[in-house]
Amino acid sequence: MALSLGFHIIFSCIGMVMPFFMAVAHFYWLRTGQDVYKNVTKAWSQGVAIFFATGAVSGTVLSFELGLLWPGFMKHAGPIFGMPFSLEGTAFFIEAIALGFFLYGWDRFNKWFHWFTGVVVGVSGLASGILVVAANAWMNSPSGFDYVNGQYLNIDPIEAMFNDAWFTQALHMTIAAFVATGFAVAGVHAFMILKGQNVLFHTKSFTIAAFFGCAAAILQPLSGDLSAKDVAIRQPAKLAAMEAHFKTEKSASLIVGGIPDVKNKKVDYAIKLPGFLSFLAHGDFKSEVTGLDKIPAKNHPPVMITHFAFQMMVGSGMAMMLIAIIYFFSLWKQKRWLSSNWILKLFAIATPLGFIAVEAGWTVTEVGRQPWIIYNIMRTADAVTPMPGISYSFYLFSAIYISLAIIVIFMLYRQIKMVGKLYDKP
């Protein structure tokens, strides 16, 4: 399940954000009439089609998988947090319709109507992403019902959808999708420019993607800060695990890197910034931050994984922010840097960083919630299907997703390889 979500998150991020890049390129084409923009739009729309189909398929599978693997969870949670799912179904449907118009509508409709359908693909994709994250946020911050003696009473699905965590989580995820996709796309095009193939085509593509990715990368730490403050209040155990913060204390220090030693409750080889954790969590250098000692051991999330994942997310986020700052600085002051090799190399190296951060962040929020599937309400172990041999199903679905990922990469490789032949007319 985690694995299928892990793959789905990549497919859907790209499927969510690429249409916007596409719409920008399309807009330039309609405005300037330069063929290169049309080619960029077409090439990207092929990519979108591949990702949408894979994302749609993996999404369909997930909606079944929820029941196949977690019937105990869905029996109770379905009616409560189903609202975002039913709206998501709508958004997804609209996206599919709009994509049909867009992909098959070249030269058939008014060109601005055609452009508009492309924008609708992006907007509805974004909406469905936000709705799904809202459902996940409910698992972190369950609301909209009363839990009395194991019964779920007075269900209010609207309140459940607008739970306390939905906004910070959705914001963080949306920006993350832009960062990750922007950097991944920019990186691939940067690599192609470095190889000296179809330079004009790749330069235009690179500029659009890099601009989006960098703008989002600079915004992301701000939203990350909001999330941290939110988690500190709602899920102290998660924050403590993220930071490997074992002992409750005032002026808690921020731990950078290091290897948590769970047995002896300390962190080895770490850089400590005194007071900074208190500041990040509560906006005050002196405030008290709850540590794992205040939380019963049976409710501890796995500290090691959560801590590492968190470090990885922040680390790659910071790296991308730096690149973004360099990029904007050169855009502003040093235009000649933009065409120089080192900045392209920087982007090419950063290709996977965004998705590493997305996956790490996903790990933080999911593993950090353990042992709960619904925070403080239902344990993960109580939700799994009673069918024996279920591990085979897990393996099967994992194998499928791995092969899907391999095929998609293979397809994209072939797309990129063909750019020269398809779009470089003398």
Binding site: T60, E65, G78, I97, S393
Partner: protein, 340 residues
Amino acid sequence: MLYIVITFLWTSILLYLLMGGADYGAGIIELFTSRKNKEVTRKTLYSAIGPIWEANHMWLIIAIVILFVGFPVIYSTMSVNLHIPLTIMLLGIIARGTAFTFRHYDAVVDDMQHIYNTIFAISSFITPLFLGIIAGSAVSGRIDPQADTFLSAYIFSWLHWFAVTVGLFTVSICGFLASVYLIGEADNEHDRLRFAHKAQFFNIAAVICGMLVFTAAYFEKIPLLDWVFGNWVGRIAIVSATSTLIYMWYLLYQGKIRLLRPLAGFQVTMILLTTTYEHFPNIVILKDGGYLSLLEHSGQEKTIQALGLALLIGSVFILPALFYLIYSFQKKPFSYRESH
């Protein structure tokens, strides 16, 4: 509001059967087409379903979301006891969806095409087969939540003749829908005739499979005859489906093709109506004679309210857009054909 939700559920299952079914059927036809005609079939098929094929499959998602939001007990019982056929169906959906997209978006055309085609055709057969098996086992009275052995809980809940014949029946209906649909899309008289023959073939197959379903029901003591003929709705539906079928063949031999699609759609609607009417609101019949009922096992009232509202709002956006999509791509502008 509960009835609105149930109407949506039924409608999305129907639309999935019609549109998704025609879509699967297209792949099934490919499987039953001789090698030399395959390429033409494939082209007609792609221009016919390409733009709307993603939308066709959304109906399944809508139906499943309605089930798990509004009727969680039914959803979780089915997903536990029918775990295996559901998984196989999902594999089919994955294989088919990806193969279909890839064969049209793979920039390089080489031997991979052959692999995509094979996967597409085979999974187009498997998926509706298991959809039918799932539908058949839901009402067969073989699902036993109290079962204590692996075989009786997870295998015999769906592996019996009744479910399998329902599966085959579903496959032939899909093939029938698709070939009737493609008659209208064919470019020339020769292809049109070919699809008409296909329609005939699947029509006969559907009749044979239908008889097998009744036979299996008889031997496995499933009162299917009573469900279908035990009430007026069922009898009227069967009579009107049969008579329109005869009328349809008459039209086809007259060369009038405009009414064919609505008639085929009507017949399938009637089939779904008869098979669901008698045991409404029960959609899962358990081994101990118990039922899972849409009326009694629904979620709490507020959930149903919100779900109904979401569906109503959604359909305001979806339906007009969908109709416009289908409408736009049905007529083929002359210039478009020229350029291809």
